[in-house]
């Protein structure tokens, strides 16, 4: 029951948190920024609308948002949000979940290519490339976590005797992992400095360029999927760095979401103080955390023995 509630809460709060980023950025720009509930309004607005489909597209175009949304939702179902056991969990779930994210990406890319638009194709190519690089880091992190906990499941990473704890034995190693995961989060969720969703030129976009032709409820599904995904990644990070462990589930949950909000704010800060990298620089940026984590794995070999 707790798990279901935690899940519902996560789904409900997912649209709220990105507004925090916008607020932060507005603060840095000296503006007031949109209201915190802006995304809910957007959602309702989009759901009410109809859509215009390009004559070039086929059913795959409509499949994209649905698959993307479903896969993001799956992540939340299996991830222990707010330190509550997830609804589903089994040994090995991380593998299938990250691959499901791959499935979502696969169809998003296809939907983009279905429009026959050169810009969307360009975005799709970058998405395919950068996410492959990010995947390397993710799997390196999984290797490390398996080494530390002997487990392949989100829940087991953070529970049981060998749960990962930043304050624990390997804190030095974990700090590097946190940095790596942070970069992966920025990459996978198309944030600055990898991608700039707020840019004006389609040529320089990645994710936004891919969804140019989506409208109405389809676009809403895509947006929601993106929010879930961001929540999942920040939740993952939060579980790593969360220093608080309260007895009460609700208090614990609140503390957890406080950390999550902190991460969102940090994203806002990063977006405000850095600019997007030039495209050729991006692979280097994404590869850096991989090298970090790989280094950590090598180190762990010495530590574990």
């Amino acid at each position: 029951m707790e798990s279901v509630l935690a899940f519902c809460f996560a789904v409900a709060i997912a649209p709220l948190l990105p507004a925090v980023i916008q607020k932060t950025k507005a603060y840095f720009a000296g503006k007031q920024g949109p209201p915190l509930l802006i995304n809910y309004y957007t959602m309702i607005k989009l759901f009410k609308k109809g859509s215009v489909y390009s004559t070039s597209t086929s059913f795959v175009f409509k499949l994209g948002p649905v698959v993307g949304f479903s896969t993001s939702l799956m992540m939340l179902l299996y991830f222990p949000m707010a330190e509550v056991a997830p609804i589903f969990s089994f040994h090995g779930d991380v593998l299938i979940l990250f691959y499901l994210m791959g499935l979502g990406r696969f169809f998003t890319i296809l939907a983009a290519l279905d429009t026959a638009s050169p810009f969307e194709g360009m975005g799709a190519a970058r998405e395919a490339f950068f996410s492959t690089l990010a995947e390397m880091t993710i799997f390196a992190i999984l290797i490390l976590f398996f080494k530390l906990t002997g487990s392949l499941s989100f829940y087991e990473f953070f529970s049981g005797d060998q749960a990962i704890d930043l304050m624990g034995e390997y804190s030095a190693l974990l700090i590097l992992v946190v940095v790596g995961l942070y970069v992966v989060m920025l990459t996978e969720n198309s944030r600055v400095p990898v991608d700039d969703p707020a840019t004006h030129l389609e040529l320089t976009m990645i994710h936004e360029a891919m969804i140019l032709d989506h409208s109405g409820p389809d676009l809403a599904l895509i947006e929601m999927g993106a929010w879930f995904k961001l929540l999942f990644y920040s939740g993952f990070l939060a579980r790593l760095i969360d220093p608080f462990h309260a007895e009460n589930v609700i208090v614990n949950g609140l503390l957890f979401y406080a950390v999550v909000t902190f991460i969102y704010i940090s994203i806002g800060v990063v977006e405000s103080i850095t600019a997007r990298y030039k495209m050729p620089q991006v692979p280097k940026f994404i590869l850096t955390p991989f090298i970090l984590v790989f280094f950590v794995i090598i180190l762990s070999m010495g530590v574990m023995q």
């Binding site: 499901l100 638009s117 290797i143 398996f146 080494k147 070999m301």
Partner: protein, 651 residues
Amino acid sequence: MDTLFVSIAVILAGGAAGLLFYRQFTLMKLVTIITTSAGCGIGLYFVLPKLLQGTTATVSYNWMHTLTLFFQLDSVSLFFLMPIFLIPPLTLVYSFHYLENREKRLRTGVNYFFFSILIASMAMVVMSANMITFLLAWELMSISSFFLVMYDYESSENRKAGYLYFIFAQGGAMLLFAAFALVHSHSGSFDFNSFAAIPEQAKLLIFILAFLGFGSKAGIFPLHIWLPKAHPAAPSHVSAIMSGVMIKMGIYGIFRMYLLLDPATPVIGQIVLVTGMVTGILGVVYALAKQDIKQLLAYSSVENIGIILIGLGIGMMGVSGQNQAMAFFGFAGAFLHVFNHSIFKSLLFMGAGSVLHKAKSKNIEELGGLMKRMPVTGRSFLVGSVAISGLPPFSGFIGEFLIYYGAFQGLTGEKLPFILTVLAIISLAVIGGMASACFTKVVGLAFLGEPRTEQADNASESGIAMGAVMSIMALSCLLIGVLPEPFVRLAFSGIQDITAVSSFNSDSFLLIVRHLSKTAMLFIAIFIAVSLFRKILYLKKEIGSGSTWGCGFTQPTVRMQYTGTSYAYEMVEFFKPFVPIKNAYTGVKKIFPGKTTWQSEVTDIAETGYQRYLTTPLLSFITKLKWIQHGHIQLYIGYIIVAIIVLLLFL
């Protein structure tokens, strides 16, 4: 065992029928396809229960007084018999509408004849239990597949491909001859059972020879270069069987050799693993770089061979590191991937064949928009693409999951094994990501968007036989992905006779498999729910249609679509030292620039390497020696005298 020989006989009879009745084109196709498929059916009917029960059988015949033909069935061979009997009937049915040219009826008959020989010889390869039998079947397999590749011999590209394949086949066979002969020199016996008893220090060399020999068939890097040439050359049902089944015989050989030698040295596992990683990554990068669908699929086969080898390598390292779980899942994963790959790669090749058949091109830069024009082909190709990218809930994921699982079990190792395992996992991830990129490219550019040429625009759906087969295979990809347990069990029974892992208890893992299945079903449920939700949202709403948003550009043409070259360029460039890209750009000159061109070509580094360091020097050396036969008798007599003098020096 007799049933198997009956099935082989029926298959061969089917092939012979192709030759006999070639004058009645349709009748010939029907008779051949039905008979051969019946033969395969008999085979499957025999193999499946045997595999699940785990029985073994042996038969031997005396041959030419001194030699014996020795056949043996164990779980490994039974497992590999599965795709051999399963895929060909499907491709044959497909070929009913694929080979439609009545004028080539004799050639079609010949094609069916060699097709049946190929099936029979592959079955014999897997069944054989001594060197002679094995090599006999192996060579029959090579030569019959050569004829299959040469079907469209009118094109010089195809002839070159056939030639290249021929050389690699024969060269590989020679290495096998050497490997087996080395074993024979130690054991004095032709029997496979004698392998394990030979001295340990000889095993590494023997394995490497055999690895290269089998690898040239399987397509390990850099012995793969015939694949991307032969597969585009062959008719699609042949590519399907060659890529789906035949190259797995190379894998079978490698694995069989390993089992027989039973080496203690960990080096062998490491060699296999490293080769697998290199093959997998470079295979997929080249696949990404190619614009010819069939060539791309061929490189993708190289990639999948890499994945399978990674699985085997993980398993072998598990055996040498006494890590039973690692060994078990490595082997099982490789086996399952062999099976899965045979299905989805055949499916994809058939899809490519269907495209080639109707849209008259296999270059994705000349296709586009086929999803609407060829719905069945398009949908099944899409399913195949998702499956081959290893994405859930389709079959490709299950095999890769097992390999991942095995590899993660191996993280308990030390030093080199540990680092190799880590690298294996990361390469699998990279391969997975790149494969998605590669297949989004194919599907996205060939089937989606707007047609780039008139031929593509005029394409229509292929014949019902082709569509039906592709749909069946697509469905089975989904089935294996959603209900993997029986198939995982199948893979488990495939490795039950391997002594190193036979005592491993896999029950706890079957639980995980059930979870995987549940997750897949959950995902599908959510997917359906979301789709319904979306349907509801769109109820009674205005749905418009218009042209794609051109970002302000008002006169879009189909040529503006993103090209495959550009799509892949950045990713390919990332691997630049290993994947040479040649660009030719004429540049913009003058104030009012004229027409300008930009060309990009990716050359296979192995191919150029062979050319630069092997064939060119060798040929120029050979040319330099041509003066020996220089036409004048005086010199010839001189040779005789020199020969005498040299020999007299030995006196």
